[in-house]
């Protein structure tokens, strides 16, 4: 039975992730995400992975958050989102049927992963279930949303879930390798988010210039 503190931390993580993924208000969702990243950093620190925590803090929380808000067109001065993110909601209506249908891929991946994890044996702590659920949540959100920013958020959440899983799976001997993987993953996540954010801004500028509101609406996929 994991200690209470850890359970609490895991629960907070999940809650924050869910909020950042499913909050209908985009700015709020981004804020939830920054909080989420902070908690993740906390979790790393608690596990004694100080470097990782620091990186998570800088890359995951600060920079990613900055890029997310940049994508929204918000600066410390301008507090309201601009451009075509002015509409804060996902352009696709969220219906239950759709949500259920999109749940399926997430469930499939979770099932596969569950099978593998079951074969690998019990891990210690709540790191693994937390990562597992985060992964599921993120996947679901990713499948559910067409919205670019939300997908980026989902991507980050999935990534975090995988990091948690990874660290939980790694034996002490494999820790350096796991570290390496996670650090790379963090950098990739940041760069991905950054690219996405820059792209969004660029698209917005283009559309503003050409007056063409066509095609994109921020949900290219």
């Amino acid at each position: 039975m994991p200690p209470l503190e850890e359970t609490l931390l895991a629960a907070a993580l999940l809650l924050l992730a869910a909020l950042s993924l499913f909050d209908r208000h985009l700015v709020r969702a981004c804020s939830w995400f920054v909080t989420f990243a902070l908690v993740v950093a906390l979790a790393w620190a608690r596990l004694g992975l100080v470097w990782l925590a620091l990186l998570e803090l800088v890359l995951g929380a600060l920079l990613t958050g900055a890029f997310l808000f940049h994508a929204l067109g918000m600066t410390p001065l301008v507090r309201r989102p601009r451009g075509f993110f002015a509409r804060w909601h996902d352009p696709l209506p969220l219906t239950w049927r759709l949500a259920l249908a999109r749940l399926l891929p997430a469930l499939v991946v979770l099932a596969m992963l569950g099978v593998a994890l079951a074969a690998l044996g019990e891990g210690v702590g709540s790191l693994r279930p937390a990562g597992f659920v985060l992964l599921g949540l993120g996947l679901w959100a990713f499948a559910l949303h067409r919205h670019l920013l939300r997908r980026l958020l989902a991507f980050n959440v999935i990534g975090t879930g995988i990091f948690l899983l990874l660290m939980s799976l790694a034996e002490p001997a494999a820790l350096p390798a796991a570290h390496g993987l996670v650090i790379t993953g963090l950098v990739v996540a940041l760069l991905g988010t950054a690219l996405g954010a820059l792209l969004v801004r660029r698209l917005e500028a283009l559309e503003a210039r050409h007056g063409a509101r066509a095609r994109t609406h921020g949900h290219p996929a």
């Binding site: 999109r102 891929p105 991946v109 596969m112 499948a143 996929a221």
Partner: protein, 600 residues
């Protein structure tokens, strides 16, 4: 002296080349637009075309020439069997050449005057005449099969140009019938030659004969060859081109056609059929040949009497005479032991018929444009070959008595009766021909020493004297015993009487339609033509049906193709699905692979 042997068939070729070159030179000198060259094409060189062959035929001793590199290995030779054929062929060609010079005098004049059509015709004649001759000579001299076939084909095809010389519908019809049947014949010959030569890998005619005699299907090979050469030799049923082609061809061409070229068919039989070989087992075929020959002799006589054009009558007479000749060949097949004795009369008969028929054809032209000679001299001279042909006089009489002599003692004596009956028909035909000539006679218009009458006179004399100069065998001239004369002459007498009766009936009934029914020349041809037309129409219909079905099929295929392409274009929309469901698809692929890994 084999050079002479090579020169004989090559000289006419050289003559032709010479004419062609001179023509080309003249053309290039004069240029295409400035007038036409005035050129004498039928000059002395041209006339000399058959001379080397004549010389060769008179050359004493046997000659042979073998050429390794000539086609599949050439062997040309002159032996006792070939000599008479070469001799009378060359002689007739020579005379016909001279005759042609006179016959075409009008065209030559017009050509010199620059008339295009005449020039065209004359050129064709001047070039094709030696070519035909070359083929004819080659086929006589050749011992290897390819050369023989080459000669035969060259003669056949080149003669087409002679037949259609006049132009116009009639000539085209004559030429067409000639060519179609000739090609059928070539096809049959080719089949027979290939089959029989292939069965023993023979390359020479003697090898071929042995091959047929020995081959299991020898009968079929021989039948093919008989029918193939039979086209030329006027076997009944295949004879239809003769009465169509002869009247339209220029008279000298008709003369060589009927006098020499049809004999090529007979020579073909003699060269390819294993005559005189006992073990050949071709007796049934011999019977057929005899039967067909006799049938031809009679049918042609009946049909020929109904013709109006003297040349058509003469053509039918050729069919009739060739039928008689064929019946003798048939006897040679069915009773091989008789053949050695029979060869000489057959040769004599062929030579006699060739020369006589040549003279008769010349006579047709002469009667139209008689020389300034008294009629009492001209008409008996015209009648002489006719009587000879009916076996009453001169060479005909001798040939007939010779036959009688050979056949009399044999099991085929019955044939003599039939031949005599056929001779009655021949006489009637001759009478008819003379009568038609008389009715179409013209005014005297040329000197007796002009080329035409001169050639005619020589031909009549030569024809009458064939047994004297033709080296047909070692036996010497079989003069008929005086006691047998009546037995030999009666068919002619009966024929003359019949002719007189008919004439009388016709005269009595003058004013009404002539009593004799009119048969179109070419008789069966019209039946063939109708059948062929019907078959062609059917084929065309079938092909059109096939074509339209093919077209429909193709159209449907094209339509299907279009539909498929449209469908494929429509598929591009499915691509949006791949875009939308990229992530679920990725998950699906992963799951699929996991499943595969799990199960395998």
């Amino acid at each position: 002296m084999s050079l002479l042997l090579a020169l004989a068939p090559l000289w006419p070729l050289l003559v032709m080349l010479n004419a062609g070159l001179r023509l080309a030179l003249a053309l290039s000198r004069s240029g295409p637009r400035r007038g036409r060259p005035r050129l004498e094409l039928l000059d002395a060189v041209w006339l000399s075309a058959p001379l080397p062959a004549l010389l060769l035929a008179l050359w004493p001793g046997e000659l042979a020439l073998s050429m390794q590199s000539w086609m599949l290995g050439g062997v040309w030779q002159l032996d006792a069997m070939r000599r008479p054929w070469l001799l009378f062929a060359a002689l007739l060609w020579l005379l016909a050449g001279g005759y042609a010079r006179g016959y075409l005098a009008d065209e030559r004049r017009r050509a010199r005057a620059g008339e295009g059509t005449a020039r065209r015709r004359l050129t064709a004649f001047a070039l094709l005449w030696p070519l035909t001759l070359a083929g004819n000579l080659l086929l006589i001299l050749a011992e290897d099969i390819p050369s023989f076939y080459l000669g035969f084909v060259t003669m056949t095809l080149a003669a087409y140009g002679l037949v259609v010389h006049a132009g116009g519908r009639e000539a085209r019809l004559g030429g067409f019938s000639y060519l179609v049947l000739a090609l059928v014949g070539e096809g049959l010959i080719l089949m027979g030659l290939l089959w029989s030569a292939g069965s023993a890998e023979a390359l020479t005619l003697s090898g071929l004969r042995t091959a047929i005699a020995e081959a299991e299907q020898g009968l079929w090979m021989a039948t093919l060859l008989w029918l193939g050469f039979g086209v030329k030799a006027g076997v009944v049923g295949l004879h239809v081109w003769l009465p169509l082609a002869h009247p339209v061809a220029p008279t000298p061409a008709s003369a060589v056609l009927s006098g020499v070229m049809v004999k090529a068919g007979v020579l073909g039989w003699l060269s390819t059929l294993p005559l005189g070989v006992v073990e050949a087992g071709l007796a049934p075929l011999g019977g057929w040949i005899t039967g067909a020959g006799l049938a031809g002799a009679f049918v042609a006589a009946v049909l020929g009497v109904c013709q109006r054009h003297p040349k058509a009558v003469l053509a039918y007479s050729s069919v009739s005479q060739l039928g008689m000749l064929a019946s003798l060949v048939g006897v040679g097949l069915s009773e091989p032991s008789l053949w050695p004795a029979l060869l000489a009369p057959v040769t004599l008969f062929a030579g006699h018929h060739g020369m006589t028929k040549g003279a008769l054809f010349f006579g047709v032209g002469v009667s139209e444009h008689p020389p300034r000679l008294p009629a009492w001299l001209i008409w008996p001279l015209l009648a002489l070959p006719a009587l000879s042909l009916s076996g009453a006089l001169a060479s005909g009489l001798i040939a007939k008595s010779f036959m009688k002599e050979v056949l009399y003692e044999s099991a085929h004596a019955w044939l003599l009766t039939w031949l005599s009956l056929a001779a009655v028909g021949s006489t009637l035909l001759m009478a008819r021909a003379l009568w038609r000539q008389w009715r179409g006679r013209g005014e005297p218009c040329m000197a007796w020493y002009a080329p035409m009458p001169l050639a005619w006179l020589s031909a009549v004399l030569a024809a009458a004297a064939v047994p004297l100069w033709l080296p047909f065998g070692e036996a010497g001239i079989p003069w008929p015993a005086p006691g047998d004369l009546l037995g030999l002459v009666w068919p002619a007498l009966v024929g003359l009487t019949l002719a007189g009766l008919l004439l009388w009936v016709a005269q009595a009934g003058s004013g009404r339609r002539p009593a004799a029914p009119r048969w179109p020349a070419g008789d069966l041809w019209w039946g063939y033509a109708a059948a062929a037309g019907w078959a062609a129409a059917g084929l065309a219909r079938a092909q059109a049906a096939l074509e339209s079905r093919g077209q429909r099929l193709r159209a449907r295929l094209v339509e299907v193709e279009h539909r498929v392409i449209d469908w494929l274009d429509g598929l591009a929309h499915a691509e949006r699905g791949f875009i939308h469901f990229a992530v679920p698809l990725a998950v699906g692929v992963t799951a699929l692979l996991l499943l595969g890994l799990w199960l395998g």
